[in-house]
């Protein structure tokens, strides 16, 4: 994968994840707990982790998406929480992925979990209100479930895009 390929692929994934983020906003969701959501945009983050040679590229996509998303709607608070949750979840996923023990299903499930846990802990610290952790029994399994579904989707996507020219180049290198 040469420089241009990489750049185009990163741009493509960023655009896709932004589109997914905006699309998710249109889907009505039952209110379970504050912060409970599908996290469709994380699909791209996980996909990037498994298709791009360097995890820094996935981090770039994630941060670009959050920055752009908060311009489209949201604001500084939402951006802060998205960044915290997203980066924490990315770090955990990178670590788990590099152990080689887990499939995308496990990696993504843990990522979804850490995303929610991280945001909850941050909210607890910022508000000094330990009662917020009472949401963990709801938000934790929610993160696991959405993460699992995303991992499943990624696992279905991977074999289908393996033959993309630029990605094969990455494998040969």
């Amino acid at each position: 994968m040469n420089h241009t390929h990489r750049l185009v692929y990163i741009a493509l994934l960023t655009a896709l994840s932004l589109a997914l983020y905006l699309l998710e906003g249109l889907i009505p969701m039952p209110f379970l707990a504050p912060g409970a959501k599908l996290g469709l945009a994380n699909l791209i983050t996980v996909l990037a982790l498994y298709t791009l040679p360097r995890w820094q590229d996935a981090a770039a996509i994630l941060m670009l998406r959050i920055l752009l998303a908060s311009l489209f709607g949201g604001g500084p608070t939402v951006m802060l929480y998205s960044l915290i949750g997203g980066l924490q979840s990315l770090v955990i996923m990178v670590i788990l992925q590099h152990t080689g023990l887990f499939s995308p299903l496990g990696v993504s499930s843990a990522g979804g979990f850490v995303h929610n846990l991280g945001q909850l802990l941050t909210a607890t610290l910022l508000s000094a209100h330990a009662g917020l952790l009472a949401y963990l029994p709801i938000l934790g399994p929610c993160g696991l479930a959405t993460g699992f579904l995303i991992g499943y989707t990624v696992q279905q996507i991977l074999p289908k895009i393996q033959n993309w020219p630029s990605l094969t180049m990455a494998k040969e290198k």
Binding site: S82, G85, F102, S103, G106, L126, L144
Partner: protein
Amino acid sequence: MVTMMKMLKRADILLIIILLALSLLPLLSLPDSKADAVHADITIDGQLWRRVPLSAHHGHETITARTPDGHYNTIEIDDDTIAVQDADCPDRICIQQGKAQKPGDIIVCLPHKLLIEVKGTSPDGTTAVLPAR
């Protein structure tokens, strides 16, 4: 299509189970955090006489509030409800008001200037403090 069980590694299952257990952890300490969530303030003639914790209360308890001029209201606390059981006020409206339980509930005995107010945040009424996305 590969079946889901084949894709799941043993480590995945272990990881998910551990994280599930971790997320249920706050349930263990929840009764503590709820302990002072709901309480009843009993005031006589505008002065706080007693504060009774309700959400952590189990069992049956009776306390008697005496007004400065010698009258009484017998207050009954049954689990997380509070009610006036007996009183020597002329209208006995305080007894007819029945049980108070939720924050915002009030029992008044006007002749004795006795006021029982249930305060606090209900377990389901906990307000979301910050938007988390």
